[in-house]
């Protein structure tokens, strides 16, 4: 990584230091304090030069990383106007996904709710007609009843035609409604690309920051990730890698097992 290169492998700086150090020891052993202090000045100068050039490189790195961050817009105003930025655009896109999936779910359930009674009525009428039909075949039906059955059969066939036409239309619109998958998929892919780009730029920024620490000799206390992660009552939402995690149940059976192991 280039941050190691900066400090440890800057050959000019290191060889200058080494040369000066050897000379310094010679001069001090020979009591040439005048020359020794000149050498110390040279060493300080070399270190300053190294810091200046490092700061220059860091500034360029920082600038490049920020420019690539996709946060365009008027940042000088307060609050900053970032409506044209790509990240703002991404949140709009994600809201669009929520709206579209919600519409599709609503429409699908509307269609199912509209279809269920049609299917149920046709089924009930068919059942009742079949009973009468069996009575007719067993010759248990009077002439008047037969006239009624004749009429009902007529009506039922009409209901059947209308009902199945309606059911077909409803099923067709359920199928069409699934088009949300295509549209939301396209939007999500674009947002994924953006998140990936931003992640790369963040990594670059972190690198720049660690170089600043090295050059200036600042030491930060490392905080372990585990300590930061507190139990969050907000929840995590659906687990997308449940099969790879030990702390997550893989389905209702494991929930039931866990609860019964707790004496539930």
């Amino acid at each position: 990584m280039d941050n190691h290169y900066e400090l440890k492998n800057n050959p000019t700086f290191i060889s200058e230091l080494q040369d000066c150090a050897k000379l310094l020891i010679d001069k001090l052993e020979n009591d040439s304090f005048q020359d020794a202090s000149t050498l110390i000045c040279n060493m300080i100068e070399a270190r300053d030069k190294h810091i200046f050039s490092s700061v220059g490189k860091l500034t360029r790195g920082l600038h490049d990383a920020i420019v690539n961050f996709h946060v365009d817009g008027d940042l000088s105003s307060e609050p900053p106007n970032i409506e044209s930025s790509e990240i703002h655009d991404a949140t709009d896109r994600l809201n669009y996904v929520i709206n579209l999936t919600q519409q599709a779910a609503d429409k699908t359930m509307d269609m199912v709710e509209a279809s269920a009674p049609i299917a149920m009525n046709l089924g009930q009428e068919a059942n009742s007609l079949r009973d009468d039909w069996l009575r007719l075949r067993r010759r248990e039906m009077s002439k008047e009843e037969f006239a009624g059955l004749y009429q009902r059969m007529d009506e039922f066939l009409q209901q059947m035609c209308d009902g199945t036409t309606q059911l077909n239309e409803n099923m067709q619109s359920i199928v069409l409604e699934q088009g949300f998958q295509d549209l939301t998929g396209q939007v999500l892919k674009r947002v994924i690309t953006l998140v990936h780009d931003v992640e790369n730029e963040l990594v670059k920024l972190v690198r720049v920051a660690s170089q600043v620490e090295q050059v200036t000799g600042l030491v930060t206390n490392e905080v372990k990730g585990d300590e930061v992660r507190a139990i969050d009552s907000k929840g995590e939402g659906p687990q997308i890698h449940a099969e790879k995690r030990d702390d997550v149940v893989k389905g209702q059976d494991e929930v039931d097992d866990l609860l019964s192991s707790l004496g539930f």
Binding site: D106, I231, S233, G235, G237, P238, Q252, V255
Partner: protein, 140 residues
């Protein structure tokens, strides 16, 4: 728990009981409402998070609560803790229907006094089983 006992319970369950469904997604509320209706429960009411649900529960003599965990405002686990701390609601049968699947969370919900825990996505059969089980235990 043989099938016979399940059938007996079906007779014993009050289909007119007043149920509150709490979920921030209207689609999920609608799915649960439809499943409950298929099971014969028609007296269902809805809230979109814990802070809306709590005053409804306090004033509405509900018999059963079905709640999600992850919601803006007050979460389901916070709602559960609130009602368990409230004298008039402390014994309200509560079923959690949630995507939260961490063992720690399930244990937390159990310790907070949940009566049943269903992970999403779920089936009509699982929902029915859990409701039967809750009222079997509550009644006995």
């Amino acid at each position: 728990m043989g099938p016979l006992r399940g059938e007996l319970m079906e007779v014993a369950l009050d289909k007119g009981m007043k149920i509150l469904i709490v979920d921030d997604f209207s689609t999920m509320r609608r799915i649960i409402k439809n499943l409950l209706r298929d099971l014969g429960f028609t007296n269902t009411h809805e809230a979109d998070d814990g802070s809306t649900a709590l005053p409804m529960l306090k004033s509405g003599d509900f018999d059963f609560l079905v709640t999600d965990w992850n919601m803006p405002g007050m979460t389901g686990i916070e709602l559960l803790k609130e009602i368990r701390a409230d004298e008039s609601l402390a014994s309200l049968p509560t079923l959690m229907v949630t995507a939260e699947a961490k063992r720690d969370q399930i244990i937390e919900a159990a310790q907070a006094g949940v009566n049943g825990y269903v992970v999403k996505p779920f089936t009509a059969q699982v929902l029915k089983e859990k409701i039967d089980k809750i009222f079997e235990r509550v009644d006995s």
